[in-house]
Subunit: 217 residues, 2 copies
DNA sequence: TATATATTTCACAAAAATGTTATAATATTT
DNA sequence: AAATATTATAACATTTTTGTGAAATATATA
């Protein structure tokens, strides 16, 4: 998930960026509307968080221009809630609106709400298909039944193809930050998951001294 | 990575310090805002963890003063979550906020999130490319498999291109401060790493009487 | 509640990586 | 040029990491 944060204040971009990174979003930054347009042209941006008041090109205009290029969801930031009405009047097809000062947590919740709508429902790697709606996994179009943890693990690995994930990362993202058990519990789940993947067991690579990843060209 | 911990309670400083040391951060301590300012002036601090309620100079004021000296990320600690709003209103100069009582693990996770956000994911020197996400190294776009130590060593050298690194420095940053083995162990890893770098083996320069470095124009 | 299922931990074998020692090669100093 | 110090290489011992089967807990289901 690539998110573009547009604000002329570096400090605000940094705060937002940090929170987004905590949730494993990839973050791009722009200082103004013009820069934002360039970044959208060059990268596969999934969501834009944009301040309204900016130099060079204000948020209204930038939003309009970007929507011409690509229909991406927008969250607008603004200092005054009066601007809300103006924004509504604009009918720019924005998805959400947050007034400053805002709580990063709240912003993150809204980001999640929007990105969840766009989450891929079917992930495929080699002959493995994970259908997130049906909550089912198919291997060469043959249904295989996984345990919940196996499913979550496979899903997280497939969502992060080609990225090496440390045991710590896996634990905090699948088990939750408050899990205080043994690292090696992951190894066991990797083992059972591999067994279920049959001939595709080797798609899960061991990254020695680090963790695991799924590789795909 | 140098972290300054500011709290009037020694016990809290000690707990935080202990956890940070475990992760190889270098820790400085201050009892109050005034002391904190002095330490920031004198040392190369990368991150400040600061309590809000302190004698002599409170956290808000100290944070503002330090930001004037240097733009360092801040994590604020506070007993009451109501103070959160006040802090947000405080023009977002802070990077994160943790309410007491906090779990050290959680605090550490936030520290990591902040310190990691400036880390480059792909480093390139000559024909050597190190992809920190995939945890892979390519030489002329050909994948080479390194051992974990070789990988860490190459990564650290590439992060410090053109900087001569002493054996002591390498040991404490790659092996950890608690490694008490022989200096020469580095030579061995430099050797195997060079072997893996093939025609680029000479990119790792020996700095006689000192250590090693990677050179790049 | 009993039963089945899932998850976590443990123990040990196997594999891989690391550290150490010895020795050779090279550079520096006297 | 010889003596000394530093660095590189190779072989081997040690330690660490990973994979796996099985037992112990925990959780869900009938």
């Amino acid at each position: 998930m690539n998110i573009l944060v547009v604000d002329d204040e570096k400090l605000i971009r940094d705060v937002i960026k940090e929170y987004l990174l905590l949730d494993n979003y990839k973050v791009y930054e722009a200082e103004n509307g013009l820069e934002a347009i360039e970044i959208v042209k060059m990268n596969n941006i999934d969501l834009v968080i944009m301040d309204i008041m900016m130099p060079k090109m204000d948020g209204y205009t930038a939003c309009k221009e970007i929507k011409k290029i690509k229909d991406i969801p927008f969250i607008m930031l603004s200092a005054r809630s009066e601007e809300y009405d103006k924004l509504i009047g604009f009918d720019l097809g924005i998805d959400d609106y947050v007034t400053k000062p805002f709580s990063p947590k709240e912003l993150l919740a809204r980001v999640k709400a929007i990105t969840k709508r766009n989450v891929k429902n079917v992930l495929t790697v080699a002959g493995i298909k994970l259908d997130n709606l049906a909550h089912e996994v198919y291997i060469d179009n043959e249904l295989v039944v996984l345990t919940p943890k196996e499913y979550d693990l496979l899903k997280y690995l497939m969502e992060n193809v080609n990225i090496a994930l440390s045991r710590e990362n896996l634990l905090s993202n699948i088990w939750g930050y408050d899990f205080y058990g043994d690292d090696r519990t992951i190894d066991t789940h990797i083992k059972t998951l591999r067994a279920h993947l049959g001939k595709y067991r080797d798609i899960i690579k061991t990254v020695r001294g680090m963790g695991y990843k799924i590789e795909s060209k």
